[in-house]
Symmetry: C3
Subunit: 206 residues, 3 copies
């Protein structure tokens, strides 16, 4: 249903927006050019790398196809260039990031499915692919990972991924189910961004 | 000597107590439910995952048997529920954690032995299995890892693991040696907790 | 050109100086002896371990040859002993560290080449081998990684590694190209240390 060229576009698009998110976070910490590029790449490819290591799926995507690295570095540097002349609003970046999350989560689920794993592992790999890069970004920048206490983020990936698996189980074709699952992630995430929706905090009193 | 059902019980028990430890640490940081569950799982399965990656031992335990994930998440949520009504004393948690450390360290050693590794790698894998989950927990929560400057912790795993390997080398059967090694870890760790025993700090003057 | 015994000496030398760097960082954070040794080993073998995981190159060097662990621990403890009587100047340590960087970067490139990877992956593996251990050291010690905002460091590895690959491509024999590449890394890094040369910071205004 979804043509290969659309999937490839989304994959590179996800890499680019996650790289920009990493580059901007590193830029706010006064990292040098090298540091900015490293954090950009780790944000963009960290989740998929961790997934492939855990699933023993070698070669890892960017080791086999270095185009991912060029897309990530190009996007990071372009973002810096653009922002010299025109400040990109945070919500525009967050919206791009939501598209990246939607596709990366679905890509992670599909990779795990292709390797024959069950529902739980597929969902966990979807979440891992979508959020681990951002967690690594925040750890390197010495911040508490945003995803741990931010508006609906990983839960959007979980819900959309679960919807996709349910629809396929119910007999819908893979392409349609994937589009619906991705839209669900996107919509949930955008509600989180624009309405400030959060999931409950579990607090412990000392 | 030790029946399989006892070993399985200890494995799940270790997973549960480490998940609780992760959940409580995350709860103190005001993470949302998702963040709490992620930190709980990483604390519980992080050490074994790192060990299996380094030893190239695939599939990783929780990828093959997702029961570990349910045990970890169930324990984390139960701990939060219980603590609403009844504050669990820190020393009770530490005592459970000591049992978890004792079993995880021994499980790590046995996994490395089964793969044919020598004494040093077995001991390092025992320590890694017992402490790496807690190190990851503290890194995600943006704390300096407790194990680096806490009362006797990893050293207990090293001593008990070494005792186990020595006893097997001297001809004791595996089950008895394992029980003695685990008890040694437990006793050393409890002395650390209840007597405040620490190992020396190596300090550098700037 | 370079005899095996020279290469082995440089490999252990790199392990030793990186272990010392990790031990001193941990010592400044008041870690206990165990913590100091763990941070020393992670600094010394972390980069190579990450490289081997990503390239699926098993067994990992130190799992196969535990001499690396003894060299790292021995160097870390010796550094502490020496510093009780005689403070080692920071620049002496930095100079040793530059030699370690030069060799580790080259060793990473050669490992990737031996596995049949192309130029970009070889360079990335060179940088990863040279700097990832220090990044892990700083993450565990809850600092922002030095390499992200320090004088010329990873860029030295990139430049020297690129020079090596270029010279081999142009027909120079491997041993000579390697010596020139390593000297280039060393000289660039020493200029960074002694002249305070840094690469530009990319900053973002909020």
């Amino acid at each position: 249903m979804l043509s290969t060229s659309v999937l490839t576009f989304l994959d590179f698009f996800g890499t680019a927006v996650f790289a920009i998110s990493g580059a901007l976070t590193a830029g706010r910490k006064q990292f040098d050019i090298f540091g900015v590029l490293v954090v950009a790449l780790i944000t963009a490819i960290g989740g998929g790398t961790l997934r492939d290591l855990v699933l023993n799926a070698h070669p890892i995507a960017w080791v086999e196809n270095t185009a991912y690295l060029y897309v990530g570095m190009g996007a990071a540097l372009s973002a810096f260039l653009v922002m010299r002349f025109y400040p990109i609003p945070q919500k525009a970046l967050d919206t791009c990031d939501a598209v990246g999350l939607a596709f990366f989560a679905m890509a992670g689920i599909q990779k795990a499915q292709a390797l024959g794993h069950g529902t739980e592992i597929c969902l966990i790999m979807g979440i891992m692919t979508g959020v681990a890069g951002g967690v690594l970004r925040d750890i390197i920048c010495n911040d508490i990972p945003l995803v741990m206490h931010k508006e609906v983020y990983a839960v959007a990936a979980l819900a959309g991924g679960g919807l996709y698996l349910l629809l396929v189980y119910l007999g819908l074709n893979d392409g349609s189910a994937m589009i619906i699952g991705m839209l669900a992630i996107l919509v949930l995430r955008l509600i989180g961004i624009y309405k400030g929706l959060s999931i409950p905090v579990l607090s412990v009193r000392d």
